[in-house]
């Protein structure tokens, strides 16, 4: 059926040839969103506007004038991107009811190319978290919890019909976007990535998650967390689709002065057959404490895959890796403290009824609007920014950041083209287990493999690799040189082809897709 198609290879062609219409596609996705509501992947479903966009797209196809490959393609956007006329909440009480007056640049670009915006996806409040469990609209459920692959591995089997059973998390903070792509309710989704928020849920949900080089894609309209690290992230079902999305989103934006001014040329990905000229680096420090033996084995197998295909595979060192998470913690909380200062109830968002004074209104508004996680980070950030602490913590962290970034420069200078690392420490945890630790601890644990790429501004991508023993997705991460997305994605595509990651088998999708599942070969990798 069409819902499980890859964007570029199949669905776009189907639209062009009239085998399916944009409105049919949109309606199917909307229906599937309804029947997978228990996943809680969407905060807002923009049904009316989506159908209208689909109709307009259909007109263009009828006239033989589609805007491009994205015309008529249903897309979902994480709810921390501004979308004109549509509520943008950041999964926080602070922004409940806030209707954006403008589109984020990435949203505008998608709409300008005819994409159909299905809705806004769920996340951790203000993108702070690694589970997509800490938003005011509740946690997002990993679609794989309901897959045949997971159910047949879990005991007892009688739980298969009970939707309340021990479902697993999506990872975060872009969990809603990852779940939406994974469950076929859209063809691609936009997330954000500050410390791994696109790659982490991509790994847990078995989808491709791309974090582009900092400065490549505009952050205008992305409600900021850490200005020096945030990037819009791309979530798709295959690497080719990620390249398509990247092509339509990258480029200088005068509204975001942190976007590079070089001309960006969209590219197609070649089908790499010869990897003998490639040098793959395996950073030894990424054998982090807590890394599951399963993932360690998979990582090793992947390295062998490259080696056996003729690539040069070398162990490398990124000596400051173990300080990366600490450094990130200080810089992140400091920038968060600054960025969250704008929420005071006066111009937008939640406003407390307190009237005694401006300050007391601000304080009450923020007490009522932010959850514990957000408040905790604001207070920590303010501590590190105090006059007596500024040099000791903030500036110190900025110096350590340079050392971390330099580690990567050195490794790439030594001749390594791409780094291969795990994306997560293990497969997705059951929700009940995950929430036993607090958010900060979890984030510190889960971000360990992903946030160094944000510190250094480098592009990185999660490629779904195999299923774990529990029947859940495990991905591996490739980190590339700055602005070398073409090389990064080419290698990722080669790897994707080698591992043949299996398609998720979901009852709901079967029902909506008019028939037989596209059965791919099971992972030849695990």
């Amino acid at each position: 059926g069409t819902l499980t198609h890859g964007l570029r290879s199949q669905v776009s062609a189907a639209l062009k040839e009239g085998r399916v219409t944009p409105t049919e596609l949109c309606q199917r996705c909307l229906a599937l969103i309804k029947s997978t509501k228990f996943l809680n992947a969407y905060i807002t479903v923009a049904e009316e506007t989506a159908l209208k966009q689909a109709e307009e797209s259909e007109d263009r196809y009828k006239k033989g004038q589609p805007l491009g490959i994205l015309d008529g393609i249903p897309i979902a956007v994480k709810d921390n991107f501004n979308t004109a006329g549509i509520e943008t909440t950041c999964a926080s009480n602070m922004l409940k009811g806030y209707i954006s007056p403008y589109n984020a640049t990435v949203v505008q670009k998608l709409l300008d190319q005819g994409a159909v915006l299905l809705g806004k996806t769920n996340l951790d409040e203000f993108a702070m978290g690694s589970g997509s469990t800490d938003g005011v609209f509740g946690p997002v459920r990993n679609p794989w919890s309901y897959s045949r692959q997971y159910k047949e591995k879990s005991v007892p089997k009688s739980h298969s019909e009970d939707k309340e059973f021990n479902w697993v998390i999506t990872g975060g903070s872009s969990g809603g976007s990852a779940a939406a792509v994974s469950s076929f309710t859209c063809f691609a989704a936009i997330g954000s990535d500050t410390g791994g928020s696109t790659r982490n849920p991509a790994a847990h949900c078995g989808v491709v998650g791309l974090k582009p080089t900092y400065g490549l894609i505009s952050r205008h309209g992305l409600i900021p967390l850490v200005n020096s690290m945030d990037v819009p992230g791309i979530l798709t079902r295959c690497v080719d689709d990620a390249a398509v999305l990247l092509g339509s989103l990258a480029g200088h934006d005068p509204k975001d002065s942190t976007t590079v001014q070089d001309n960006f040329k969209p590219f197609d990905l070649p089908d790499l057959t010869d990897v003998s000229k490639l040098s793959i680096g395996i950073p030894k420090e990424y054998r982090a404490p807590g890394l599951s033996s399963e993932i360690l084995a998979l990582w090793s197998k992947a390295a062998d895959l490259f080696k056996n295909a003729g690539a040069k595979v070398v162990e490398v060192s990124l000596p400051h890796t173990r300080y990366s998470i600490v450094c990130y913690h200080v810089l992140c909380t400091a920038e968060v403290a600054s960025n969250m200062a704008r929420f005071d109830g006066l111009e937008y968002g939640h406003r407390s009824d307190t009237k005694e004074s401006t300050e007391s209104m601000y304080a009450a508004t923020r007490r009522e609007g932010f959850n514990d996680v957000v408040r905790g980070r604001i207070l920590s950030g303010n501590y590190f920014l105090l006059k007596q602490n500024y040099e000791k913590y903030f500036v110190k962290a900025q110096k350590v950041r340079r050392l971390i970034a330099n580690d990567f420069v050195e490794v790439f200078r030594s001749g390594v083209d791409i780094l291969l690392t795990p994306t997560t420490l293990s497969d997705a945890a059951p929700y009940l287990e995950f929430i036993r630790e607090d958010n900060r601890t979890r984030s510190a644990q889960d971000d360990i493999l992903t946030q160094a790429a944000n510190m250094a501004g480098l592009p990185a991508i999660n490629v779904p690799t195999a299923l774990s023993e529990r029947g859940l997705p495990v991905g591996l991460q490739f980190i590339g040189r700055s602005f070398q997305e073409q090389q990064l994605l080419t290698v990722a595509k080669w790897f994707e082809k080698q591992v043949q990651f299996p398609t998720i088998e979901l009852e709901e999708v079967k029902r909506h897709d008019n028939g037989v599942f596209q059965h791919q070969k099971s992972a030849s990798f695990s």
Partner: protein, 109 residues
């Protein structure tokens, strides 16, 4: 090394966010402890990094030309309290009550 009540109070004032309970304070203590690991790293002669990938590009300032605006209506739409084209705020220049008078749990600690 515990954070003093004065600093905690100062933080509440600066952040306009309260610790709410002892768990909040503990969270800060843990965050500081965690951050202290930074001091193990030798950063002699290392410049702080403001902008990542700074050798590839630099921030610029654009010309001070008005390129957009006239969107008063849109900007006012999301505000709860407004009068004509003004955002309405409660009286300013009234500082938050001192620690002794405030309704914060820090009193009891």
């Amino acid at each position: 090394q515990e954070v003093s009540v004065e600093v905690l109070d100062h933080l509440e004032h600066l952040a306009l966010v309260d610790f709410r309970d002892s768990e909040g304070v503990e969270r800060l203590q843990k965050a500081i402890q965690f951050a202290d690991q930074l001091h193990e790293v030798n950063t002699d002669g290392v410049e702080p990094m403001d902008l990542v990938l700074e050798d590839r590009w630099c921030l610029y300032l654009r010309e001070d030309d008005v390129t957009e605006g006239n969107c008063t209506k849109e900007l006012l739409e999301n505000a709860r309290e407004k009068v004509e084209e003004y955002f309405v705020a409660p009286p300013g220049n009234i500082p938050l009550p001192k620690l002794e008078e405030r309704d914060t749990f820090l009193q009891s600690s």
